[in-house]
């Protein structure tokens, strides 16, 4: 085999991408443990070449979903298909998925090179080609000099890259990452996030990544699915999920959010007119595909702290409420202020610039935000 296989695979991907033959389609997936639903009607598609993150707290079902796709867990209902072919019931060894575990799970008695070549050995690839491909993959992750060491002689970050190389060398249909950065310390983690994303771009492999770390999800993902209590609450690009959260859970889980109770007066599905708790009215954005209340219903509006600003009395604003200034924390690049308004504490962050002087505690202030920055959330069912 003289042809560079990365070219072969990217060619295969290019043709595969057109008809979705390498897409992984998850439909109606459910799993019960006793009476508890670990998963409930989970649907998504991992598109070919995409970096998709399942983000959620412990017990949200993200690891169960990954386990079902990998073949370690049997679902109670639903289907997982690669292209149009169901892989439910297929043993893990035949699924051709590369998996990186949080513990890395490197074979402790094998050298780094033998670890990387393991999948090729199982596929009965001849020794010479096995060595060549293993070596190239180690070079790609920058560990060519460590081939003869044992995993115990490597640092955590290096072990993680060996695990990645081992999973990639088999040209997997997709790479499944089970909290692979969880064991790394914070600084190393950011570096690895960028490296990982780079390798993914280079190889064009589809990645399904499971994590509870929102920052990690934001940095690396093309799209992210926020999971809670066995369901996907929202699936979209990181920007859209942050800017236009569709539920209270998503708004709270990803960054900080001010959640305001409102009465909906008008709702045309894209824009809504609402009344806040103090009676003032305002206009907000509606982007949730499902379940926002119509005219006359109760609702919740989410406004990110950095999207609220202090406004002068004569400033015309689409949304404005009055409140009492409570306190302000100086965070270097920004200021984090707390204002008592609408019967709750609102958080306002603003960048530290010369024009801004913090009001005295107890002072009356006016907070304003644009219609595009207020988001009417889906009603909780």
């Amino acid at each position: 085999m003289t042809v560079d296989d990365s070219k072969v695979t990217s060619a295969a991907r290019a043709t595969g991408a057109a008809d979705g033959a390498r897409d992984i389609n998850v439909t109606g997936l459910g799993k019960r443990y006793g009476a508890a639903h670990a998963l409930h009607d989970v649907n998504f598609t991992l598109r070919d070449g995409e970096f998709l993150t399942l983000l959620g707290p412990s017990g949200s079902g993200k690891t169960t979903t990954l386990g079902i796709i990998a073949g370690f867990v049997d679902p109670d209902y639903g289907d997982v298909q690669v292209g149009a072919r169901s892989i439910i019931g297929m043993p893990p060894r035949r699924r051709n998925l590369g998996i990186v575990f949080q513990s890395y799970a490197l074979f402790p008695h094998l050298s780094v090179a033998a670890n990387v070549e393991f999948g090729l050995r199982m596929r009965k690839v001849p020794a010479a080609e096995r060595e060549r491909r293993g070596k190239r993959m180690l070079e790609r992750v920058g560990l060519a000099d460590f081939a003869q060491r044992t995993p115990a002689q490597l640092s955590g970050g290096q072990q993680q890259r060996v695990a990645l190389a081992r999973a990639l060398v088999i040209n997997p249909t997709a790479l499944l990452l089970d909290e692979p950065l969880g064991a790394l310390d914070r600084r190393l983690r950011q570096q690895v996030e960028i490296e990982l994303k780079g390798i993914q771009r280079e190889t064009g492999v589809s990645v399904l990544h499971v994590t509870h770390d929102q920052e990690e999800a934001m940095i690396m993902s093309d799209r992210m699915a926020v999971m809670n209590a066995g369901r996907i609450e929202q699936i979209d690009t990181p920007t859209n999920v942050y800017k236009y959260p569709s539920t209270r859970f998503v708004a709270n889980f990803l960054g900080e959010a001010n959640l305001l109770d409102v009465n909906v007066r008008e709702n045309d599905g894209a824009r809504a007119i609402v009344n806040y708790a103090d009676g003032s009215s305002g206009a907000v954005h509606v982007s949730s595909a499902h379940g926002t209340g119509g005219s006359g219903s109760q609702g919740t509006v989410c406004v990110r702290p950095e999207r609220m600003h202090f406004a002068s009395d004569d400033e015309v604003a689409e949304n404005a409420v009055c409140g009492t200034f409570v306190s302000c924390l100086y965070l270097g690049a920004s200021l984090r202020c707390i204002v008592q308004a609408l019967g709750q504490e609102l958080i306002v962050t603003c960048s530290d610039h010369a024009a801004f002087t913090s009001p005295e505690p107890g002072a009356l202030v006016r907070l304003a935000w644009d219609a595009a920055d207020g988001q009417l959330l889906a009603n909780e069912s």
């Binding site: 990998a70 060894r93 699924r95 998996i99 575990f101 949080q102 074979f107 402790p108 064991a183």
Partner: protein, 287 residues
């Protein structure tokens, strides 16, 4: 979610303070334990034909007698064969049981494990009697295979426990990653389970060997003409024919044990050798 893996470094156990007082107090105990054993050495170098201490004349009569007697050589060879077969049987059955039992995920798993461990708690005489009766039906009393099977019953709990301890430290993700990389049942065993339990299998095998080679009660019950193990021969010789040859063979045995411990220390160092002997474990992870 899963916890991050533990750091590889484990705090070194603190060394017990070795004060002169401790040494002084320990010496009598050590002498009390070791002296009777060491006494056989001078007693074996006698020129006479009676067992006495100290020997009235020094010589190598006992050793000449020992090597002249085909019986000793035969029983030692027989014992080695019995022990080897017992080791093989225990390692095979207990190793497979330790791997397979948790994978069945059945109720009563603990009960099965308890049954496997019964020979540890049962009085050996009772066990010997039962085995004797049972083997009578099978007509394998007084055979090499019979004694080896009986000894493997004693050996199974040791291998089962050491292998189970090793498996409890095995990361399930290793099995899963091997499977995801294309490994079938055999390959998972060959590349994940076997390397993980190999040290435990070896220590278990060593324990079974020692237990079997040393075992006298069961062997006494089911021995027969042409099927006499070394300890049985030693025991009967002491009872009926107390000769210096017994002292000579004991001395040789003692030398063999000391030699193997020295080799062990040279190969693995003092700490690990002591742990291996004391716990039958690959490096000090206690049960």
């Amino acid at each position: 979610m899963r916890k991050p893996p533990k750091p590889a470094l484990v705090a070194r156990r603190r060394r017990a303070a070795t004060t002169p007082l401790v040494v002084i107090l320990a010496m009598p105990a050590l002498l009390f334990l070791v002296l009777p054993i060491l006494l056989v050495i001078p007693m074996s170098f006698t020129a006479g034909h009676v067992v006495e201490f100290p020997p009235s004349a020094w010589g190598l009569t006992a050793y000449r007698e020992l090597f002249a007697d085909e019986g000793w050589r035969e029983t030692i060879m027989f014992s080695l064969k019995v022990s080897a077969l017992a080791v093989f049987l225990s390692v095979l059955t207990a190793g497979l049981a330790a791997i397979g039992l948790p994978r069945l995920r059945m109720r009563g798993e603990g009960l099965v494990a308890a049954v496997i461990l019964i020979p540890l708690a049962m009085p050996v005489v009772t066990l010997a009697l039962g085995i004797f009766q049972f083997f009578n039906q099978l007509q394998i009393n007084g055979t090499l295979v019979g004694i080896a099977i009986a000894h493997s019953v004693l050996g199974v709990p040791y291998v089962f426990l050491t292998v189970r301890a090793a498996l409890s430290k095995l990361d399930l993700a290793l099995v899963r990653s091997a499977m995801s990389l294309g490994a079938g049942t055999w390959s998972v065993f060959r590349w994940v389970y076997l390397p993980a339990i190999l040290p435990a299998l070896l220590s278990g095998a060593l324990l079974v060997f020692v237990v079997s080679f040393d075992e006298v009660v069961i062997a006494l019950f089911i021995s027969g003409p042409g099927a006499i193990t070394f300890p049985v021969k030693l025991f009967t010789e002491v009872q009926f024919n107390l000769s210096p040859a017994i002292m000579a063979v004991s001395t040789l045995l003692l030398a063999a044990v000391v030699l193997s411990v020295v080799v062990g220390i040279l190969l693995f160092g003092v700490r690990r050798t002591v742990y291996r002997i004391a716990l039958g474990d690959g490096g000090g992870a206690g049960r």
